[in-house]
């Protein structure tokens, strides 16, 4: 049994760390977002392994269901769909500096501290094989309505404020609204730009207000 758990833990750890590495290194931002979803799933599986079932469900609901979709929407709305020809990471000495900071933090600060610290682990209850007493969802709900009621309410207010703030920040007045190209239109435009003979703008499209710098310009030159 212990071996099975160890193998499962090893697989989940490899998934989490490997997907995280792909998130930060892959060139295409959409691929990075998809790897991020894989990483969130791995973390959810880790919660399940740690016997925090409710948190695993919350992880899948909130991170996989909401935040990843939000990130994908932001990527599509900001139109930097593919990263070809665009450097995604900072260049030169800054890249090496950040890599060195992260690696040193891990190898010099975190791992030696974890290894050398004497964790005050509680003794296992009774003879081996007895299930450990474990707080579950019932205690969690009770804690939310008794002990942490104020924090619970404040979290609700925070979420409301964040909702309103996100709308206010992202809101655009109708008069200033710029026509945003859909992915299909952008693909079409890019194909047209690639062709030597320029064709007219497709009929039916209302003459767009000064369109946000044609794709590939301004992004390709960086």
């Amino acid at each position: 049994m212990a071996t099975v758990i160890q193998i499962i833990f090893g697989l989940i750890a490899a998934l989490v760390v490997g997907a995280a590495v792909m998130v930060v290194t892959v060139r295409n931002v959409i691929h990075a977002a998809l790897w991020l979803i894989a990483c969130f799933f791995g973390v959810g599986a880790l919660y399940m392994l740690l016997e925090a079932e409710f948190l695993a469900v919350v992880q899948v609901l909130v991170y996989v269901g909401a935040i990843s979709i939000l990130i994908l929407f932001a990527i599509m709305l900001t139109r930097q769909v593919t990263g070809e020809g665009v450097r995604q990471l900072v260049g030169g000495w800054r890249l090496w500096l950040t890599a060195a900071i992260s690696a040193l933090l891990f190898a010099v600060a975190i791992v030696p501290t974890i290894i050398s610290h004497a964790w005050n682990l509680p003794a296992p209850p009774g003879p081996p094989g007895t299930p450990e007493p474990l707080d579950g969802v019932a205690e969690l709900g009770r804690a939310f309505v008794y002990e942490f009621l104020l924090q619970f309410q404040v979290a609700g207010v925070l979420l409301t404020v964040a909702l309103i703030g996100a709308i206010v920040i992202a809101f655009e007045e109708r008069a200033r609204r710029r026509r945003v190209l859909t992915l299909a239109e952008e693909h079409e435009l890019r194909k047209r730009l690639a062709q030597p003979a320029p064709m007219e703008a497709p009929a039916g499209e209302p003459a767009p207000a000064p369109r946000a710098a044609p794709i590939s310009e301004g992004e390709a030159q960086q």
Binding site: V24, I71, A74, T98, S102, L105, I110, L134, A213
Partner: protein, 105 residues
């Protein structure tokens, strides 16, 4: 679980996740990529909290409530952050963090 996998292993995985997220947040040029790195770091912290709850205080639910509050704050942060990315894109026509430097003087 507690008998098979030592606490240190879980903490090392969480630490690796945190450092990878830090690297991503510092080295990505795309603002959305920076936010993805921050999400990775928040996840690493949550793994830490749940591991401490499970191994050290399994009869004390505070570890899980703390993780849920962090998820809540992370959701708020992601919503506002991505709204800011969209607003920045609208004004600067770029999501490159290096190009948004009008406060640089």
């Amino acid at each position: 679980m507690t008998a098979a996998v030592p606490l240190e292993a879980v903490l090392v995985v969480a630490g690796a996740l945190f450092c990878i997220g830090l690297f991503g947040a510092l080295s990505r040029r795309n603002l959305v990529g920076v936010l993805m790195g921050i999400e990775l770091m928040l996840n690493a912290v949550n793994v830490n909290l749940v591991a401490f709850w499970r191994y050290l205080e399994p009869r004390f639910i505070t570890g899980q409530t703390f993780a849920i509050f962090i998820i809540c704050v992370a959701a708020a942060e992601a919503a506002v952050g991505l709204a800011m990315v969209i607003a920045i894109y609208r004004n600067w026509l770029t999501v490159n963090a290096d190009a948004v430097d009008s406060l640089k003087g």
